[in-house]
């Protein structure tokens, strides 16, 4: 069975991020990692492979550095990697990303697609559903547990007051939450293999997308401006003189906690 895992390379959560003059992330001072949620998806795919001998391909749309994220996935145990990269994709919006990914998936062929429920940079959680819809396959979202049996995949999705068990036939797309497993740390063997692995690189023309036509339809959103928030420093320190509780409650309300 062919499992494809959609992954993205994102800035490390700890790093201080700045936007450059071109309104894009200034990547120089920021470490890049495999999207933590996608690690859980890769791990789940590997567990399925360990049970059933499937092939795992990791797919990512991103600039050249995205190869590092793909290698991390291979080090964990993925078999093949494909990167979609094209100058026309710089600053792609959600629709473009979903569209391009679905085209690439159609070309790759798949029985099961796994991906993290969101990325840690934008954190929208939109792309998985959009990809599934574009492909016309079932979308099982926010899976905390996954079972694969006889051409059917069933997931457990948490909701208020309990959880739902939702199932669909293959081919299907599943997005996973952090509850689903604990991702493994790559072994040396995995790391060595990932260094030697060949990553297939596809441009838009390779997946049958005309960059010019794309340019007329997208992007559908654009960044207007940005403002840098101060890095976390200590805020006000107040000595309690009887009304600390009210001050705290005000503060919580101000920050929409209450």
């Amino acid at each position: 069975m062919n499992i494809v895992v959609l992954v993205k390379q994102v800035p490390d959560t700890a790093a201080e991020k700045k936007l450059g003059a071109n309104l894009r992330l200034d990547r120089a001072s920021v470490a890049r990692v495999l999207n933590p949620f996608d690690e859980y998806a890769v791990e789940e795919a590997i567990r399925l492979k360990e049970k059933g001998g499937h092939t795992i391909t990791v797919l990512s749309m991103g600039p050249d550095t995205a190869k590092e994220a793909l290698r991390t996935a291979i080090a964990m145990g993925a078999d093949k990697a494909v990167q979609i990269t094209d100058p026309a994709l710089a600053g792609a919006d959600l629709w473009t990303t979903s569209f391009v990914l679905s085209k690439a998936l159609a070309k790759l062929g798949f029985d099961l697609i796994l991906t993290g429920m969101a990325t840690t940079d934008a954190g929208n959680g939109i792309v998985p559903g959009a990809v599934a819809e574009s492909l016309g396959v079932p979308f099982l979202s926010f899976a905390g547990k996954l079972d694969l049996e006889g051409g059917q995949v069933a997931i457990r999705r948490a909701r208020e007051g309990g959880y739902d068990v939702v199932a669909a036939g293959l081919p299907a797309l599943v997005s996973v939450t952090k509850a689903i497993n604990e991702p493994r740390y790559p072994t040396m063997r995995g790391i060595m293999q990932s260094k030697k692995a060949q990553i297939a690189v596809w441009a838009l023309s390779d997946i049958g997308v005309d960059a010019g036509a794309l340019a007329t339809k997208a992007p559908k959103t654009a960044v207007l401006s940005f403002s840098q928030r101060e890095a976390r420093k200590g805020g006000k320190v107040i000595k309690d003189d009887g009304n600390a509780a009210a001050i705290i409650a005000d503060f919580l309300q101000e920050h929409k906690i209450i």
């Binding site: 959560t13 700890a14 201080e16 604990e182 740390y185 790559p186 072994t187 063997r189 790391i191």
Partner: protein, 683 residues
Amino acid sequence: MVPTAQFYGPVPAWVFLWLAVALSLGIFAYRVRILYRLLRLGQPENRFDRIPDRISSFIVDVILQRRVAEDRWTGMAHVFIFWGFLVLLLSTANLFVEGLTGGAWSLPVVGYNQYFSFLGDIFAALVALAIVAAAARRYLFHPARLQNTLEAGLILSLIFLLMITLFVAEGVASTRGQWMPVSTSVAGLLASLGMDRGAELGLATLAWWGHLLGVLTFAAYIPFSKHLHLLACPVNEAFRSFEHRGVLSTLDLENTETFGVSTVNQFTWKQLLDTYACTECGRCLEGCPAHQSGKELAPRELIHGIKLDLLTQGPQLLAAKKANGSAQAEAVEVALKPVVPNALSEEALWACTTCMYCQYHCPVYIEHLPKIVDLRRDQVLMQSTFPSELRNVFKNLEVNANPWEIAWSNRAQWATDLEVPVLGEGGPSELLYWVGCAGSYDDRSQKVSRAFVQVLKAAGVPFSILGAEEKCCGDPARRLGNEYVFQSLAMENIELMKGYGVKKIVTQCPHCLNTLKNEYPQFGGEFEVVHHTQLIADLIQQGKLKPSAGETRTVVYHDSCYLGRYNGIYDAPREVLRSLPSTNLVEMEKRREKAFCCGGGGGRAFMEEHSGQRINQMRFDQATATGAEVIASACPFCLTMFEDARVARDAIETVRTLDIAELIAASLPRQAEASASSRASLD
């Protein structure tokens, strides 16, 4: 007449002795051969270099019993037993020659020499005394580090019996007896019992046979018991390591397929020989923080466990290799049960703080630490199985070059208001101040960094820091078995520092000190590295620092493992502390080479303790038992451990834990006013 001259029917008694000798030697040789073949299962290791050093070490450690004698009273007892053994080896050899030839021959020199006989007699008495003392210690006083096994009892009894039989045989029936005061006294004692001469001679014959057969029994028993150490120790000590004890072996990550040790045959032959040499003396246990705090790890059990593993599984491998050549042997190798968890539990493996107490004090030069790290390397690099707290530590080291999830670009934030020169921005390159991860990111240790900068400036020492270019030295990764992350960090640091032409480094962290100084040369990084207490001591001696302000207080100094046992730095920190006015320096009982670990090393600072007592609290209690109000240390791990313990023991008001740099900074004349206000925040 020698008892074997006696005829029993047509057969002279020496025939029986020959048979007994053949049997004993046969058993002995058979067993030793197996033990040797088992050793050969181990991986190769070159311990055949430095012959002159090995010879002199042999003389000092084996003949002169240097490390054994470090433990005064037990050491002395053993010295008597050992030298006695050497002397009596000759006398016993002579007895055998006489016995086997029915009295026809004796050994030249030894045989009928007045002085030698006297010497042998005295030594036999010393041995007997030592055995009595040993037995009293073992059975009356029950020292914690000894296990009263059947084997131990047997050996003590056997040796004692051998001495008594010797006294009786020589004292009553041998003409040598005239030169042997102790034997003569024993014979006299017997005579006073009123036995007739015939009975006495009969007893002497019995004793003679008893002695020789006893020796033969012992000889056959040696390779089956912990007395194997008689053979193994001299060899083990001759093949000891001459590497700096703080250096772990390096791995060729590119060109090898297997890393670390999974099954017992993946240890080197020398590592396996170590297990033969263990006499179960238990000195390693006395200072082991894991064992003393109730964890599953005990160094003696580690060694013993590996030995048992070799003895139980090794023969399967030997048989397979013999039977079918290489093909089947591989199959057997794969089927061997791994050392972890079969001979050593996972909890025990990760409980080690790498404090080096065991290895430092082992009288027979067993190297415990490389075994632990080799086992960890397999767990991390091959199996990817390790305590879950470490996954983030490894990832953080890879992504942000520090064990916490803090951006690498913020590494020099602690220095923002201090005007600290950065090497990459043109700062002076004579001296690099290596801050380390804790000094850069940990709030408490940042205070130490700031204090040290104050000190350097006060002394007018030009220096730079690497700032955000500095990466973790890699010590935690290496000690935890993640050689891959370690080598990545090390090589990047070395390339960076060489690029800047760095020659001399000062650091406040003994772990960084050890790695930068002793391990970076493995990767081409040769730098002169000093600890900040050494630099401060020098500066005080040169008059560039004049500690002058100080409140009256009692300070106890804690020797950090990586500074003391690892790098032999005990005096410089003490000199610095003694230079502080109004400071009364006191010492703990477990100090210097016997210092008890704070619990933070070996990557343990990043792991949870799940059983037993907290190591840091134990050490904190040892420190406060001296009555000191201030615990002075020179390591960020120790400082963190003590701060935690201080909170846990509710001693925030009564005890302060400070780094030596902070104490010095607070005592400098120009800074006296400023530091009076900052002293409050030294908490």
